[in-house]
Point group: C2
Chain length 290, copies 2
């Protein structure tokens, strides 16, 4: 495998993800110039001072001479970024992103830059932390993590290879699948669990005995509810973007809870133990492989 | 506060909880003799070798000359332990336990040793780990953890004080409440989350694309599903013991999920963001106080 090298990359949004990509590329000397694009002056200045980026600009249009644009902003801002990219003369500029849902990004690209789809590579690194901003940048954030790429039918093979090279050089495992498969999988393993955890904590919080409940909540609650501490803005966007799959999974989940409810009502504890046992076996098998 | 001291305590079930109590009492020189009662020969031998217990017996009836009996066996075995305790001549022997549900223990005590209720102190230490057996004994397991005591109407004040002294000396914070209040609180903060986590993992595991789902499950899933790795036997027993409260909470939770389902269907993302935000605020407030 040839060592990855890129002359010029524009990173739109130098936060945890964008900053971590920048720091890895710099550490590996895999990049000529990194243009950081952002609205937060302090954050960009830190990124410059820390050597994560070489140039800081506030408008994507001032970064369109790059070879690749990595869009790493909250999903609400993607539309306006794509509209600015459209104004650039270089139609062969590679466009990739890091959003948690992929169908919506593909749809926006089809609407806004339909003539450039050969160079569009939707992407999703499965990595993160509770920290935000360029100060949280970590060159090892993606080591052994999955990055899903969802090339469109129109995407050129070389475009996929280039973006794969970027993530390979960040230490990630790159997996390719259609955007619909991605959104279906992540609805089940991530989006539904978030909705469920939010819903359970909000229900507890609304009870008249809420303060007593939180007083006695312990380790099991800590683990279960951790994802309910996530950004409500980001997760509302994910619900909007992946609404259809989440609705399907939510319907199935409510059905499963009703089944357990029926078994509890009829005191069929053998069946309940079978369900619990299947779950604990599957969970412990999974955990032993991590 | 006088230093706690007990001449002779019988610990029925020298596992993680029983063994940890033993190791703390020994470390503090707060005990004359510890009689370990158990069925697992290897486990008891380890407890003897490690100095957690002074005497090992296999039958509770051989430990009834103790001042206090701490019942720390799985809840299915509690009934037979109480029946053996009934055979002892000393009606003033203190009887306490460590089960996760308290209404069922109180009910069994009322049925089996009705003439001794003055000496019965149902208890629940909110501490644990994934480890089991006397090898997992940790004298600091209860430091700053809550222990709930649920004295019966009949329980003598001195009996409560003695059991409170035991847990104080283990470093725990002792809280007293009626058994029904205990079971209602723990249904919401522990039992329902376990049922929900089991149900979600079992649903994933039953899907035809299960292996793909588990391949891409990451950090959020790890936290959310950790409690689904718990003992299915123990959690079935908890469902049996606290069935009424769990059914109430499950009904309310299904109603809340249906509400979110309705909001998703009607695309009321403002309302969804409010729910997510209330949950994340409550969760992060809680976490900041831990």
């Amino acid at each position: 495998m040839d060592k990855f090298y890129i002359d010029r990359i524009a990173i739109v949004g130098v936060g945890l993800i964008g900053g971590s990509v920048a720091s890895r590329l710099k550490r590996q000397h895999s990049v000529g110039e990194i243009i950081g694009v952002g609205r937060g002056q302090q954050n960009l200045e830190h990124a410059l001072d820390a050597g994560l980026i070489d140039v800081a600009v506030t408008d994507v249009r001032d970064a369109l001479d790059a070879n690749m644009i990595l869009i790493a902003v909250p999903v609400r801002q993607v539309e306006s970024v794509l509209k600015k990219i459209r104004t650039g003369r270089n139609e062969k500029i590679l466009v990739t992103d890091v959003g948690s849902t992929k169908g919506d990004f593909a749809k926006l690209a089809r609407e806004i830059i339909p003539e450039r789809l050969g160079y569009v590579v939707p992407g999703h690194p499965i990595a993160g932390s509770e920290k935000t901003g360029s100060r949280a940048a970590d060159p090892e954030l993606f080591d052994d993590k999955n990055v899903i790429l969802c090339p469109l039918e129109e995407t050129h093979g070389e475009a996929v290879s280039a973006v794969k090279g970027l993530w390979d050089s960040c230490g990630a495992r790159v997996v390719t699948m259609p955007e619909a498969a991605h959104d279906k999988i992540f609805s089940a393993v991530s989006h539904l669990p978030h909705v469920v955890s939010y819903c359970l904590v909000e229900m507890m919080n609304r009870r008249s005995d809420a303060s007593e409940l939180f007083d006695f909540a312990a380790g099991g609650f800590r683990d279960f509810s951790r994802i309910a501490g996530s950004s409500s803005e980001m997760w509302t966007d994910i619900c909007r973007a992946n609404r259809t799959h989440i609705l399907e999974d939510l319907e199935a989940f409510i059905g499963n809870l009703k089944n357990i409810q029926g078994l509890l009502r009829s005191e069929d504890f053998e069946a309940i133990e079978r369900i619990f046992n299947d779950a604990s076996t599957a969970r412990n098998n999974w955990a032993s492989k991590q």
